[in-house]
C-alpha cells in the first residue's frame, strides 16, 4: 500500500491519497494520470490492467486501487 501511495503521489502530486475517496468522481485524476497510474502499477506489481478495470469504483481511492492490485496479482 505504501508503494502504491508513493506511485500516486509521484504521478499526480498534491492530493491526500490516504483520505481521498473520490479521486475520479472529484476530478483529481484525469484520463492522462489514470493512464500513467495504470502503466506504473503494471510495472511495479507485475500485473496486467485491462480496460474493464478502469472504472471509478477501482480508481476512486488508494484503498480500492490496492484491492484491485491484490486481486489482479492473485489472478
Amino acid at each position: 500500500m505504501k508503494q502504491l501511495i508513493e506511485i500516486l503521489e509521484d504521478v499526480n502530486p498534491g492530493v491526500d491519497y490516504n483520505t481521498c475517496t473520490d479521486l475520479v468522481d472529484g476530478g483529481y485524476l484525469n484520463s492522462l494520470s489514470i493512464l500513467a497510474i495504470v502503466a506504473e502499477l503494471e510495472e511495479a506489481f507485475d500485473i496486467v490492467i485491462s480496460t474493464v478495470e478502469v472504472t471509478p469504483k477501482n480508481f476512486n481511492s488508494a484503498q480500492s486501487l490496492w484491492e484491485m492490485v491484490l486481486r489482479l496479482k492473485e489472478e
Binding site: 476530478g27 484525469n30 484520463s31 492522462l32 489514470i34 493512464l35 500513467a36 495504470v38 502503466a39 510495472e43 490492467i49 485491462s50 480496460t51 474493464v52 478502469v54 472504472t55
Partner: protein, 533 residues
C-alpha cells in the same frame, strides 16, 4: 398524424407528457412500465413514423447479442467445471475469442446502420468528387435518407449495453421489455442524455409511484428549461440564421456577434432541453444522468468537455479512449517515449492515437460534414496543446510568482476557454468548411463597428429590446450558476421556503416566460439542434 417537432411543442407539453403522467398515476405498478414504453413508442412514431422499425430492430438485435454473449460464457463455465486443468486456459481463450467476435458483430450491425443512414450520402458524394478529380467516370447515386429520430443516441446506448455485457460489468437482460424501455424512454429519446444500462434500466422497470414532490421538482426544472429555450435560444434565432446564411453581406463584427450568439443559443437550447428531459424523468421518479455542469466556468478545454455534453464525453472515454490507450501496442508507447521525452511528455505524446480517435469520432458523431470533422480535429489540437503547454505554464507562473488559483488568473483562463470554444462553434454552425474559414477570416479582415454606430446591427432579427432581455436572462442564469458552483443547491433552497415564497417564484417564472418568451409573429423557434445529430 400530428407531427411532433420538439419537446417544447404543445403536443408534448400539453398532451403527451400530461397524458402519460395521468395514466402512470392511476394505473397499478405492473402497468406503469407499459405506459412508459407505449408513450416512448408513441413519441418515436409521432416524430419518425414507420422508421420506428429501426429502433425495434436495434432493440431486438441488441437483446439477442446480450443473451448470446452471456450464454457463451455460461457454456464455457459449465465446460470449465469438468475440464482437466491443462485444458482450462485453452477453453478460456477460445471463449474470449468467441465473445469478442460476437460483440464485434453486434457493434458492426448497430454502427453499420448508423453509418449507412447518417454518413452514406457524405461518403458517396466525397467518393464521386474524388473520382471526378482523378478523371474517373464513375458516378455513384447519392442516397437521400431520412434519419430515425435519436439514432445517434440510441445506437450509443445499444453499443454501451453490449460492451458492458461483454466486459461482464452487467448481466445480459433476459427481459426484452426492460431493455426496450432502456433504449427508448421518451424524454431522452431525441437528444439524450446517453444513459448506461446500469444507471437507468432498473429504475425504469421499477416504475416508482408518482410522488407530489417529484412532480413539483420535475415541473420546476421543465419551466427553467422552457425559459432558457424560449427567452434566449429562440430570441437569437433570426439574427444567427441571417448572419450564417448570408455572411458574405456582413462585416466581421456582425459575424463575431453571431458566433457568440450561436454559442449562447446552442448552450441554452441543449441545456434547456436537458432541463426539460431530466425534469420529465423526475416527474416519474426516474433520475437521468446530468449532461451539463456549468461548462462556461471551465478553465481549460479539457475541463469544458467534462462539463459539456457529459454523457457523450464519458461514452468516448470509456469505449474509445481507454480501450485504445490500454491496447497492447499503444500500452508500450509511454515506456518507449519516456526514455526520449521524459515521463510527463512520454504520457502526453503516447495519448495522441487515442485522443485523435476520440475527437475524430466526436466530430463525425455531430454530423456528416467536413466542418464537423474539422470541429473534432480543432478540439483534438487544443487539448493536445493544452497538455503540452501545462508544464511550462506551471514553471513560468512559479518563476513570475503568479498565483494560478487567483481570481484574475482564473477569470483569464475562463474567458480564453470560452473564446476558443466559440471559434470551434463557428465552424460547427457554418454551412460548410469553406464558409467557416471565410467567416473566420472576415472577423479579422473586415472588422468594423459601423453597424453598431448607425444602429443597423439591431435590424437583423434581434433589436436592442431583444438583446436586453437576453442579457438580463443570462445574468439570472449566471447568478444561479455562481451559487451552484459554490456547492449550493438552489432547488433545495427553494424547496425549504414556505408555500407563499415557492408559489411566488413559480408565478414569477411563468410570467417571465409568458412576457419575455420569443413566440408568435416575428419569431421562428430554433429546431432542436442536438436532435439533428
Amino acid at each position: 398524424m400530428l407531427p411532433l417537432s420538439s419537446y417544447f411543442s404543445l403536443l408534448y407539453l400539453a398532451i403527451l407528457l400530461p397524458g402519460t403522467v395521468l395514466a402512470y398515476t392511476v394505473l397499478p405498478q405492473k402497468y406503469r412500465r407499459a405506459v412508459l414504453l407505449l408513450s416512448s413508442y408513441a413519441v418515436f412514431w409521432l416524430v419518425s413514423g414507420k422508421l420506428l422499425c429501426y429502433l425495434l430492430f436495434s432493440t431486438i438485435s441488441v437483446h439477442h447479442i446480450g443473451l448470446w454473449l452471456e450464454n457463451t460464457q455460461l457454456e464455457a463455465n459449465r465446460l470449465l467445471e469438468t475440464a482437466p486443468k491443462e485444458t482450462r486456459k485453452d477453453i478460456r481463450a477460445r471463449t474470449q475469442q468467441r465473445r469478442k467476435k460476437i460483440v464485434a458483430f453486434g457493434i458492426a450491425v448497430q454502427f453499420g446502420i448508423l453509418l449507412a443512414l447518417k454518413y452514406g450520402a457524405f461518403f458517396i458524394s466525397n467518393f464521386n468528387e474524388l473520382a471526378d478529380l482523378m478523371k474517373v467516370t464513375v458516378k455513384l447515386p447519392v442516397p437521400s435518407v431520412i434519419l430515425p429520430i435519436g439514432i445517434s443516441f440510441y445506437t450509443m446506448q445499444a453499443a454501451s449495453y453490449m460492451l458492458d455485457v461483454y466486459r461482464e460489468n452487467i448481466p445480459a437482460d433476459r427481459n426484452l421489455m426492460r431493455l426496450a424501455l432502456y433504449m427508448s424512454f421518451f424524454p431522452q429519446l431525441m437528444e439524450g442524455p446517453i444513459c448506461r444500462y446500469s444507471e437507468t434500466a432498473q429504475q425504469l422497470w421499477d416504475a416508482p409511484p408518482m410522488r407530489w414532490k417529484n412532480l413539483m421538482l420535475g415541473l420546476q426544472r421543465i419551466l427553467w428549461g422552457i425559459m432558457k429555450k424560449m427567452v434566449v435560444a429562440d430570441r437569437l434565432n433570426l439574427l444567427i440564421t441571417e448572419a450564417f446564411d448570408n455572411y458574405v453581406h456582413y462585416d466581421g463584427f456582425m459575424i463575431a456577434a453571431a458566433v457568440v450568439c450561436y454559442t449562447v443559443q446552442l448552450y441554452m437550447d441543449f441545456s434547456g432541453t436537458m432541463d426539460l428531459v431530466l425534469g420529465s424523468g423526475q416527474i416519474f421518479g426516474i433520475k437521468l444522468p446530468e449532461n451539463f455542469q456549468r461548462p462556461f466556468f471551465s478553465r481549460t478545454i479539457q475541463e469544458f468537455w467534462r462539463r459539456w455534453h457529459i454523457t457523450l464525453g464519458a461514452w468516448f472515454r470509456d469505449y474509445v479512449f481507454y480501450p485504445i490507450s490500454l491496447s497492447a501496442p499503444i500500452k508500450k508507447l509511454p515506456l518507449l517515449l519516456q526514455k526520449r521525452l521524459g515521463r510527463t511528455y512520454g504520457f502526453i505524446f503516447s495519448s495522441i492515437p487515442a485522443l485523435f480517435c476520440v475527437w475524430l469520432c466526436n466530430g463525425l458523431w455531430h454530423g456528416a460534414g467536413w466542418n464537423f470533422i474539422f470541429f473534432g480535429m480543432y478540439h483534438f489540437a487544443l487539448i493536445l496543446v493544452e497538455n503540452i503547454m501545462e508544464p511550462p505554464a506551471v514553471w513560468l507562473a512559479k518563476r513570475l510568482h503568479i498565483n494560478r488559483d487567483g481570481i484574475l488568473y482564473r477569470c483569464m483562463q475562463i474567458v480564453r476557454t470560452a473564446v476558443l470554444f466559440c471559434i470551434g462553434e463557428l465552424f460547427f454552425r457554418a454551412s460548410s468548411l469553406k464558409a467557416g474559414f471565410a467567416m473566420f477570416k472576415k472577423i479579422f479582415t473586415d472588422f468594423t463597428l459601423a453597424r453598431v454606430k448607425d444602429n443597423t446591427f439591431f435590424s437583423h432579427g434581434a433589436d436592442k429590446h431583444d438583446f436586453l432581455i437576453v442579457v438580463v436572462t443570462l445574468a439570472l442564469i449566471l447568478a444561479v450558476g455562481c451559487i451552484q458552483e459554490r456547492g449550493v443547491s438552489v432547488r433545495q433552497w427553494i424547496e425549504k421556503r414556505n408555500l407563499a415564497v415557492r408559489l411566488s417564484l413559480w408565478y414569477l417564472l411563468i410570467l417571465f416566460i409568458v412576457i419575455f418568451g420569443a413566440y408568435g409573429t416575428g419569431y421562428i423557434p430554433v429546431d432542436p439542434i442536438y436532435a439533428g445529430f
